[in-house]
């Protein structure tokens, strides 16, 4: 006997994500999920961004192991909670639900979630964020959007980081851009360098303009 089901396998995660988003909306916390491969510059990008925002920010750090990144955030006095996934390759909505219990978000207007360094799995899991950001860095090559369309098609923003390295590697910015626009024409693309600070202002201006709670 055949039984029709038609059930989204990620339903359980997505239901918790809806609760998370309601929680953030109630507290007026604009939440940004940052995804990239390891070493693309997520942590320094978040630090640079927070230093230029005029509203209080907090961070949820996701890592397979260690608290290196959260210690870095804490050094700057940023409220932070660390999630160690113990081998799991992505953050999911229930992990965020647990993490926000340990974070005082009163008055916080921006919450950055640093996802696990991975261009595949994090794309599938809604965390309850308001904006998804993918960071790709110049040394990784201009082919990343073509190789990981699942991620690049699902984000509102693509940060092309480390553009100061452009003279030293073969990187075709036009090919990179076409790989994103071809599957995600509404994506905002911000080329920048956290080292030289070139391009950062444009990203900050956009982020501030998007936050309804600032």
């Amino acid at each position: 006997m055949k039984i029709e089901i038609i059930k989204n396998i990620l339903d359980a995660n997505d239901q918790v994500a809806v609760l998370n988003r309601e929680f953030f909306d109630d507290l007026k916390v604009f939440t940004i999920n940052i995804m990239s491969s390891p070493g693309a510059g997520k942590t320094s990008f978040i630090l640079e961004t927070i230093s230029r925002l005029d509203s209080p920010s907090a961070v949820i750090e996701g890592d397979v192991a260690s608290s290196i990144d959260s210690e870095k955030m804490a050094e700057f006095g940023i409220p932070v909670v660390q999630i160690n996934t113990g081998g799991n390759c992505h953050l999911d909505a229930p992990m965020i639900r647990e993490a926000i219990k340990k974070l005082s978000l009163n008055g916080v207007r921006y919450l950055f979630i640093e996802n696990i360094g991975n261009l595949i799995c994090p794309a599938s899991f809604d965390l309850g964020e308001h904006i998804r950001v993918a960071i790709s860095s110049v040394p990784e090559g201009d082919d990343k959007p073509y190789k990981y369309p699942g991620l690049f098609s699902k984000v509102e923003v693509v940060i092309l980081n480390k553009i100061d390295l452009m003279p030293y590697v073969n990187f075709d910015p036009d090919r990179f851009r076409k790989g994103i626009i071809g599957i995600n024409r509404n994506a905002k693309i911000f080329p920048l360098s956290c080292k030289t600070k070139e391009g950062i202002e444009a990203w900050i201006d956009w982020l501030k303009s998007e936050n309804p709670y600032k």
Binding site: I5, A12, C89, A123
Partner: protein, 122 residues
Amino acid sequence: MHELAVTEEIIKTVLEASGGRKVKTIEIVIGDLSSFIDESIRFYFGLLTKETSLEEADLLFKRIPVKLRCYNCQKEFKPDETLLCPYCNNLGGDIIQGREFYIESIEVEDEDRDNKEHFRCQ
């Protein structure tokens, strides 16, 4: 690695839907843009269903290729690496297929037949 958690979800759903009856097949639809791997789900499924009513269930995966609707001419196409529309040569399109990830159906052993078999055994 993330297939472990989703396989647990699949098992939970199928157990609820099958109501304790022996499950013969489970049809799962996976779009090529979703990040899930058939073989990995099959591996965890085998580990997690030992000595349950799902133990002998076959997993049937239906893979759905990515399809775009051209931004320009609105025709549907399966993109190659250039992401150019084969009809009008414009770049890209809206994704209309390829993100699927759901259980479509299951097949369970017929209750009447189960009862008969049970009777025969006695």
